[in-house]
Amino acid sequence: MSLEAKNVCTKPLNLIDRIKKKAENHEVIVVCLRCDQEFNVQDIDSQKNYLSHLLKEHRMVISDVDHIGHFQKYNQYWKERFSQRNIDDFCFKINTNSAQDDKGDVESFFLLCDDLPEDKTLREKLNIFKLEKALAQQESERNDKNYFRDCLFCGQQIGNNRLNILQHLSESHNFTVGNADNLVYFDEFYQKLNQRIALNKCLFCEKIFYNKQTMKEHMRKKQHKSINPNNREFDKFYIINYLEYSKYWQEIKHERDTEENRIHNQERNPSLEDWNDPVQTYCCLFCDESFEDETEIVDHMNLGHKFDLKSTQFLSFYNQIKLINYIRRQVFLKNCFICSQKFDSNEELLKHLEADDHIKEFPNMDLWDQPEYYFSTFEDDNLLCLLDDNGYNKDESKIKVIPEDIRIEIRKELLESLKDLDIN
């Protein structure tokens, strides 16, 4: 049965289109800690609005708001906790006008700060969240091969990566801002520098000059070809500042890189070690569902489609690969993989498979035992990595794999030179 002639796929297929992207929550609405009023905290000004409301209406202060990694989550957490217990259990009370000479009334304010251990752990966790986000951003910047910008000083267009821009600045203009790997949110950073230069402002001492020429002369003569280290505005662009929420880079610089004792070097925080990286998604063979866990997908196919992936384990690994690729191809072409009947839509195909119980049958070996099914139907089919290789299977004896030759001559001169090296 040569279906191949009619069912030719000419372009590479990808499963990634099927994976539904999780909707990202971009709302930055917070509900006030003490009342039920809602506030928008998207930018600094609206955040200040909310904080002033807290101060005036509820006499509450949150210390070090700038150091909180994710303000919305912080707010949400404490709102829940306040509903469970009395506010006095969490906040410190500050009494003003409490000295004898003060004429005003005694007013008490509540302070929520990280002297409370619970608050401290929460802030640390949120900081890790912020750090991870910054690292992800840095990774995308590192791998970005299409980044082109004009040089700050000579106007030449440089690309394709931020690394080239920094190299050009350091080589041609002697201007350094640090190693590219230490920077994050590079685009914003570059724009800021551009803005300053447009204003004819020296980047180091921040004096404004009449025109660009004098500014360049000043920077060259005074060797101000770098950024002001004390300017906190640039802190967010250096990833070292994200390490610990309460420390700036100057403090961290003075700390040691690694501890002295090398004996017990395991990180004591297992939760960070097991932290999951971009997890692989597995797509179901028959429908459009995708899962991140391998047991979930096997269960889904078992319960949802009555297809048991484990039942194919008696086959050799190579045959399992062929079978999966065959099924993928037939489902893509909307054919039944047992009887090769054509359908117009995936729903009809699924109905047919379940109704006729074809899904439990095993397809005829001639149909799928073809060398073309060695090649993955979908370029990024992760399901193929889940197949069990249960050791040697006699079907595999037909397959020949030849290792490459390794031939190395032992030269006498080499032996002489190695004589001193105390081997053997």
Binding site: T176, D181, N182, D257, D277, D381, I402, E404, K412, N424
Partner: protein
């Protein structure tokens, strides 16, 4: 990303010493290059030797005996070092044999790690870097530091020290260049086991992104993988793949059965020659 710390490019990077008023991005972090984050006994201890030859004008000053031999040109290729299982402790040795422009490096992951100290939590960056020449050599390095750039630099050096030869093979017929693994090999690290299975030409690398990068750097073009365990832990996943790739040369395939089963070791075989040479040189001196 040809971002290797070769001598030629180092001068460019040194220019970055004065970022924030002279302190940022410098070479300060290099001093504490301890055993932390190294490959842990895979092919010998690391980091014990000091770094000689930072002075650019003099070039590389080798510190180890092997380094001296390599500088003098007594050793022709990395394969000769592998033959005698000599530990490589200087990254410049690798630079001599594999051109730095050919040896590509890639950062697999930068992740924050925390350690509990008396003064509270201490967070640092851990960089996992893979190097390879896409033609038979691959290495993996892990380094922790408070600055990302230092961690990456250190990891590249450790990766170069851990460079391993990769044996490849052919599927079906022996035409052209080898493209797949020579046999089914397994590697394990932590709870992750990775199994590499030979594949026909054109299959490509059917695996997760992490092992894919390592396998492409090794020069393997077609391969199926079978991974088990918590593959989310990228460090273990990468190490398990590296172990599997390293096992390609550990596996005794039938074509090697004939070779050196009952042969004398080279030292025994050439011992007379060596003895004579020594005697002769003693007489001459």
């Amino acid at each position: 990303m040809a971002d290797s710390a070769a001598p030629a490019e180092r001068t460019g990077r040194d220019g970055f010493k004065s970022g924030f008023g002279g302190d940022r991005g410098g070479r300060g972090g290099r001093g504490g290059r301890g055993g932390r984050g190294g490959r842990g006994g895979r092919g010998g201890a690391r980091g014990g030797m000091g770094r000689g030859g930072k002075d650019e004008s003099k070039g590389w000053q080798p510190v180890t005996k092997l380094g001296r031999l390599v500088k003098e040109g007594k050793i022709n290729s990395l394969e000769e070092i592998y033959l005698f299982s000599l530990p490589i402790k200087e990254a410049e040795i690798v630079d001599r044999f594999i051109d730095p422009s050919v040896l590509k490096d890639e950062v697999l992951k930068i992740k924050p790690v925390q350690k509990q100290t008396q003064a509270g939590q201490r967070t640092r960056f851990k960089a996992i870097v893979a190097v390879g020449d896409h033609n038979g050599h691959v290495g993996l390095g892990v380094k922790v530091s408070k600055e990302v750039a230092t961690a990456i630099r250190g990891a590249i050096i450790l990766a170069k020290l851990s460079i391993m030869p990769v044996r490849r093979g052919y599927w079906g017929n022996k035409i052209g260049a080898p493209h797949t693994v020579p046999c089914k090999v397994t590697g394990k690290c932590g709870s992750v086991t990775v199994r590499l299975i030979p594949a026909p030409r054109g299959t490509g690398l059917v695996c997760a992104p992490v092992p894919k990068k390592l396998l492409t750097m090794a020069g393997i073009q077609d391969c199926w993988t079978c991974s088990r365990g918590s593959t989310g832990t990228l460090g273990n996943f990468a190490k398990a793949t590296y172990a599997a790739i390293a096992n390609t040369f550990s596996y005794l395939t039938p074509d090697l059965w004939k070779e050196t089963v009952f042969q004398k070791t080279p030292y025994q075989e050439y011992s007379d020659f060596l003895q004579n040479f020594e005697k002769k040189s003693n007489i001459k001196a």
